[in-house]
């Protein structure tokens, strides 16, 4: 398989076929937490793209040059990755506050939230130590740094796309007449179910 088509496959596979929110159920807390408002979900989406890219780079480097050569990856990867992500987010937050107040105001409040977002840990783990999402069918046992970054970009764009679509649906839902017991979250779940029904259509593309 040529490199370009492999990259395209990784991107589409991450964004649509294995959409992390609607087909993998990863990162649902912000999906239901911040989707009540269009503006916050936009901010959240950009923050997620930003943090995921950095987290994947960091975990990939640490896995490739520290954990795997030392042979301790199998049992140290969970604490190592989560600590890397948590401290990375902390540094990014401090740096942004000092260097770019505009950017900080746009996504500052979301950064601490993202630390414990399972989507970031899942994507970073998958980039560094593939095998959980059956990606290896497409690319082989491990990803190069370029492949890992393209995959992460796909996943985070898919995350943002699903989040923004859902926020738009929920804003409209505010005006709808809903039975009393279903108001708020229950109807949001049912709406999410219908939205994810659309993503069933993507499953099976390219054998992913």
């Amino acid at each position: 398989m040529s490199t370009v088509s492999q990259f395209a496959l990784l991107f589409i596979g991450g964004a649509l076929i294995n959409n992390i929110l609607l087909t993998r159920f990863i990162g649902l807390c912000p999906f239901f937490g911040v989707s009540g408002n269009m503006e916050t979900s936009m901010g959240m989406s950009f923050a997620v793209v930003f943090v995921m890219m950095m987290a994947s780079t960091a975990t990939w480097v640490v896995w490739e040059f520290v954990l795997a050569p030392l042979g301790v990856g199998e049992f140290l990867y969970i604490p190592a990755f989560i600590l890397i992500i948590a401290s990375l987010v902390q540094f990014v937050e401090m740096y942004l506050r000092k260097a770019s107040p505009v950017l900080y105001r746009a996504m500052g409040i979301f950064l601490p939230l993202i630390t414990t977002n399972c989507a970031v840990l899942a994507t970073a783990t998958e980039s560094a130590k593939p095998g959980f999402f059956k990606l290896n069918i497409a690319v082989g046992a491990s990803l190069s740094l370029g492949q890992a970054l393209i995959y992460t970009l796909g996943v985070s764009v898919g995350f943002g796309f699903a989040l923004i679509t859902f926020a738009a649906l929920r804003e409209r839902l505010e005006l709808a007449g809903v039975p009393r017991l279903f108001k708020g979250t229950p109807i949001a779940f049912i709406t999410a179910g219908l939205l994810s029904l659309a993503y069933v259509g993507f499953s099976g593309w390219f054998g992913l």
Partner: protein
């Protein structure tokens, strides 16, 4: 002792992490395609939340509040690693299916949330009650969701190769329930149902208070 049971019961019903507080959703929806997986996932979560609550609560006076979050995460991550390795060794077939969800217990907001909101301010014994109550509440909802999805999605419930319950043979299972939309739909109805139950028990408690 009465306080212990009250804390325990609170986690199961009034403050149920899944249907009322809405935390720790991801794992529940993803794993609940089969009763077997849900049972083991739930046990893993009960173990991790109870142990991390105990450890955090025992050392609560020695953990400086500025760095408490990283410390909680490391504590939780160590217990998750134990679960990860134990499951890989003893129930490999379940481990294969659960896959990424075992490492993801670390970032299950429910566990970090209970360490922060409860164990950090309470005695170890009460923290055990809280951890077990919250864990059991989580486990119950997940098992019910999985039972509904497996029974109506495949027509039978299978436990390590043997069939527990089977619907009559004329039943044609809608595979929608097993696919990802099914989880959202069934769970939406379950929240509405638990709301109805909570409202009803509240109304009953009020009626009892009026009669006195």
């Amino acid at each position: 002792m009465a306080e212990w049971f009250r804390t325990f019961r609170q986690g199961i019903a009034i403050e149920n992490p899944l249907t009322v507080l809405m935390i720790g959703l991801c794992a529940t929806l993803a794993v609940s395609t089969q009763l077997k997986n849900a049972v083991f996932m739930g046990l893993a979560v009960v173990f991790v939340i109870t142990m991390s609550n105990v450890l955090v609560s025992v050392f609560r006076k020695h953990i400086p509040s500025e760095v408490r979050i990283p410390i909680f995460i490391v504590v939780i991550a160590s217990f998750v690693t134990i679960v990860d390795l134990v499951m890989k060794a003893f129930v490999p077939s379940v481990y294969q299916v659960l896959g990424i969800w075992i490492p993801l217990i670390v970032v299950n907001c429910m566990i970090l949330g209970r360490a922060e909101a409860f164990a950090y301010n309470n005695r170890p014994l009460l923290s055990i009650a809280d951890g077990m109550g919250m864990g059991t509440g989580f486990w119950l909802v997940m098992v019910i969701l999985a039972a509904i999805r497996e029974l109506f999605g495949t027509g039978k419930i299978v436990w390590f190769g043997s069939t527990l319950i089977a619907l009559p043979s004329g039943y044609e299972p809608p595979s929608l329930l097993l696919l990802f939309p099914g989880a959202f739909l069934v769970f939406g109805f379950m929240i509405a149902g638990s709301r109805w139950l909570n409202e009803r028990s509240q109304a009953r408690a009020e009626a009892r208070a009026c009669r006195r």
